[in-house]
Symmetry: C2
Subunit: 401 residues, 2 copies
């Protein structure tokens, strides 16, 4: 078993890198604070016997050699980047648990048969550069490296430039490392486990998603002098889109639908809004439900706001994880006396990309009040240690196969 206290103290101490508010994080992908936590991760892993390899999208692989030649790597991991006002556990737990597995192996002197890697995927959150889960997407061939390098943030800096700036455009071609299995430990980010009372979640898969952009043009006019009947108020139209988006989710349970972001121009009290841009996020566990939500919302928007310009910027189908790995995790949870719930992940994860080419599974631990992408995100030291120990035991079992 691994050192839960050490895991907890690393979570707290690395949370200083990009801290935001009292218990929050603002460590955007490829920012200076991302660079700083990457250096910490690399030097920690090197001290535990790893070589640290970086690919051309900045994914980091801390690799321990295995005892039996010719075997593919068993990998665990997650991400060290955060939302602009996120928490201390989302992604971070999975990478830091991997570091503690390295430490447990180092301390015990035990060598695995397979090579073993702890992965830090680049830009899981998608807050600075869209889409989310970028590094794992390139690794798995879902995105082409050239077009991803050319994407830019709001300041116009491209992914390629941001990688160069922090020195993380690595020499390896993304996807270079053959993996025998990939496991990811993560906080649930929803209220299901807490409500159910189970200690851990065994994730059956990840729901699908659609990201839509909506642009609504109206006519800027004087808020006092321009009559109601002649107005083209882009914010009034946008409000209808926000409510239609919420309604579509209620119509297709267990689907969820969110307008997370809105930009209004000129955004001045006494000016009728002339232009609004909205960012919509739709999710559903079934591809059919997701397709129906998308089609109906597009039709609703066309009816309510005929002048709206819509574009679908990302479509991802639901993903199923590997049944054998899920069974192995179930058995190890029983061995550790951890009650487990089989559940679908509401959030997207790097594992959802990796699953396309590698046998993959995920372990969840509860999130207090189900909160995530929130500075109040919290899981207890015991919950973190439980998840990390289950991850370690699962890795040891898989290594025997």
């Amino acid at each position: 078993s691994l050192d839960g206290d050490r895991l907890w103290s690393n979570i707290l101490s690395t949370a200083r890198i990009g801290a935001h508010g009292k218990t929050g994080m603002n460590r955007l992908a490829l920012s200076a604070s991302d660079a700083e936590v990457r250096e910490w991760f690399a030097s920690e892993c090197r001290a535990l016997g790893c070589t640290v390899e970086v690919d051309d999208i900045g994914n980091m692989f801390s690799v321990l050699p295995g005892s039996k030649p010719g075997l593919a790597t068993i990998a665990v991991g997650s991400h060290l980047d955060t939302q602009p006002a996120g928490g201390r556990f989302d992604g971070i737990l999975g990478v830091l648990a991997g570091v503690e597995i390295l430490r447990a192996l180092h301390v015990s002197g035990q060598m695995l048969r397979h090579p073993f890697a702890v992965v830090n995927w680049t830009n899981e959150e998608g807050s600075r550069f869209s889409p989310a889960m970028m590094g794992s997407g390139v690794f798995c061939g879902v995105h082409d490296i050239g077009s991803i390098h050319a994407l830019s943030d709001k300041e116009g800096l491209t992914v390629g430039e941001a990688l160069d700036k922090i020195g993380y455009r690595g020499e390896h071609i993304a996807g270079y490392l053959p993996m025998a299995a990939y496991l990811e430990l993560h906080i649930e980010q929803g209220p299901v486990l807490e409500a159910d009372g189970s200690k851990v979640g065994i994730v059956s898969g990840v729901q699908g998603l659609r990201w839509l952009d909506v642009r609504i043009r109206g006519t800027e006019a004087h808020a006092g002098a321009f009559p109601m009947t002649l107005r083209e108020d882009a914010l009034v139209s946008a409000a209808k889109v926000v409510l239609a988006t919420e309604a579509i989710a209620h119509k297709y349970p267990p689907g969820v639908a969110t307008v997370g972001s809105i930009h209004v121009a000129p955004n001045s009290r006494n000016v009728v809004p002339g232009e609004v841009r909205l960012e919509i996020d739709l999710r559903h566990t079934e591809e059919s439900g997701l397709a129906a939500m998308e089609a109906e919302l597009v039709a609703d928007i066309a009816r309510l706001v005929p002048q709206a310009e819509l574009s679908v910027v990302w479509r991802k189908s639901p993903v199923l994880f590997n049944a054998t790995l899920r069974e192995t995790i179930q058995e190890e949870a029983e061995g550790l006396g951890l009650s487990a719930l089989h559940m679908v992940s509401g959030a997207g994860h790097d594992a959802a990309h990796v699953a396309v080419k590698v046998p993959t599974a995920m372990i969840f631990i509860p999130s207090r009040e189900g909160l995530s992408h929130n500075e109040r995100e919290y899981s207890s030291p015991q919950q973190c240690a439980d998840g990390a120990n289950l991850l370690l035991r699962s890795v040891l079992r898989i290594d025997e196969i």
Copy 2:
């Protein structure tokens, strides 16, 4: 009559100071570009025989002495500040027409009996510092100078500091100048004159307004993992407020109601919005209509979004202009062969404050498509010249009284 070509070329040439886009303006109150246009205005007026006086809120008075001792000043004016994405005529026309009256008097060698002043009021727009019509409000004793100096912009710079920074905290106490009459020429900023076909508007008064701030707190959560039934989505609540605001105007014609500005946190696509702030603008020609709109909207918001926090940041009752001055303007319009419509102003104006202590009236010219607070704001050279000539003729008539 005055030089319409000169007026037009001054509108175009000073529009370079704080130009925004192709035909727009971004000359926020007390900014560097505001300072630059103030210097232009002062030197132009000095060259035409004026002394330029500045009060402690930065209002500028370019004063010509009169021939008959002991008379109060006849003033014309408006403002040289603009919206962040405004037009080239709003406010600017009224000040530049005043400069052309000075030039006409200068060229003809004619001296008025009364002292004559062209006024540039500080911060009419209210885009950088709220409330709007700030300088004229202090001049007329509606606002206390100390509390106005202490107000700050989004960067935390106070009005007092901004005045010092551009050297426009003047030596005169606001309100020092006794006025016999105040006339303001302005673009209509709405579509009424264009639709009616009249050449000019004679403004009977200015409608009243209410500025409300609404703050809605929800709970930030993961847009994929947090179930719909448990959400407190601040943007969904805000959308209801936007639609309720629009509905209230339709219920109380000819009232208008606008949510011009919205701020969402954290404003990230895959995060359920945790907090939204809205800025509402309500107007009505009747105080009773305005009060009903306010009361009913407050009740609607309390019912739709019980957790909303509301505050009224500004209340201004409708204002009636001086009947004698309006009649004088009407007669002069007839003399010039300009068809005139008597109308209420939809927009607020410095004249609405000045009217509290000085006999006041306003002249409108048409706005193309009724557009203002918009880069496409436009009135033709002929329309500008018509308005300015009517202003000149009215001043000459009032001077005889």
